[in-house]
Symmetry: C2
Subunit: 241 residues, 2 copies
């Protein structure tokens, strides 16, 4: 009997926004894995902390230092691919020994999640169970008091890594938008939003639903860059009934 | 002291996919409002049932019979607008009397939710508290074992009410897609997916995460139409690391 790999979505940040199912799985978890930068407790770990039992074992999966590479550089892809391979080795050793492994995932595991890179390597060899979560964008538009999509609105989710021209073009063609992965791309994303004539409607959200949440009209966010856990939303103007 | 209007996201269908916060608010709820077609218990009510206390009062908000109208017909807009006005009257009477009112919302309240039509009328007069939920699409792609967006993928959420040409064009221009509001639009949506060359990648999901969940490759879904609680996902092919 091999173990089960759990990928547990923990929601956007407020621990009370995890699902009943996520909480149940955390309470029962024995081996708990989480992605980490430089060995620090991850955001996902902070969300999960209140539900973890004291007897669990921690398995940090520490990203290699990759900030010196461009994301599309072959060196980056090689280093990060190697990291996921190694992580799967660690996890599969435990699964093969009949132990369950629970991977902590901020937001929703199958929505731009690092967990997907483990899942695609392990899903054909082991039983996997994934628990969806409230996304960061849902937490963000809720706390911004900004319903995102109405009636026949088209919603486009864009990574901030796209170039300005493509971002502006995509924004002009949609009713509502969410822009993720701001970080160092923030200034370029803001330019694209201005170019698309959407600055007045855009809302900047950092650390949505967390204690340090920051929400403000994009035009008032003057400093740069933005943290990794930030996004911009542009609510739709669809049919009001 | 006026009451608080709660808009509580209940997730995609499995009651265990509601958040801890939603469950807490339901346990404390006294006046519980829910949208209904023809007076029947709604999907949201079914999800919420296990958490509601026995002492609560039910406030069904029954949609006017509108199937004889086209959605864009002025008669429809008038009838449904009148319905939302009346619903707000009922709710605001209770709020003004100092009672809280909890509105049950399937999925996430601010993502194409009927609740938004109450919220926009009441938010400037009463204290409102909205709880985000796991969306139907997150529940769907999770149970379809289909990570939706990788790396720099663009995800487009499209209502099935768009015309075929526009749907096909939008699909060709995106990496990943979710198509909502199938119902009577199902045959037309399938045509657009074929036109866009995406039939092989498309997955049909009805009643995702519910006991009667049905998930199959779109090319195997031959009958028509589709139920209201169904959607199609087209997972992205973005960067695998």
């Amino acid at each position: 009997m091999t173990g089960t790999l759990y990928g547990v979505g923990l929601g956007p940040g407020d621990p009370e926004l995890m699902t009943l199912k996520a909480a149940r799985i955390l309470r029962q978890a024995r081996v708990v894995a989480w992605f980490s930068k430089g060995g620090k407790r991850s955001h996902a770990h902070t969300i999960a902390a209140s539900q973890l039992n004291a007897k669990h074992e921690e398995m940090p999966l520490i990203y290699p230092v990759t900030t010196e590479y461009q994301v599309d550089a072959p060196e980056y892809e090689q280093a990060i691919g190697h990291f996921y391979e190694e992580s799967c080795e660690k996890i599969s050793t435990r699964l093969a020994a009949g132990e369950d492994v629970t991977v902590l995932c901020a937001g929703d595991p199958f929505f731009y999640g690092s967990f997907m890179h483990l899942y695609r390597r392990l899903a054909d060899r082991f039983h996997c169970h994934v628990v969806p979560g409230v996304t960061a964008m849902s937490g963000g538009w809720t706390n911004a008091h900004a319903p995102i999509a109405w009636g026949d609105d088209i919603l486009t989710v864009l990574p901030g890594t796209l170039d300005s021209g493509q971002l502006a073009g995509r924004l002009k063609a949609t009713d509502a938008a969410v822009i993720m992965k701001l970080g160092r791309n923030f200034a370029r994303v803001r330019e694209a939003i201005i170019e698309a004539g959407m600055l007045e409607r855009a809302i900047y959200i950092a650390y949505g639903t967390m204690k340090v949440e920051q929400i403000l009209p994009l035009k008032e966010k003057l400093d740069t860059p933005a943290p990794y856990f930030s996004l911009i939303i542009i609510p739709g103007n669809g049919r009001r009934l």
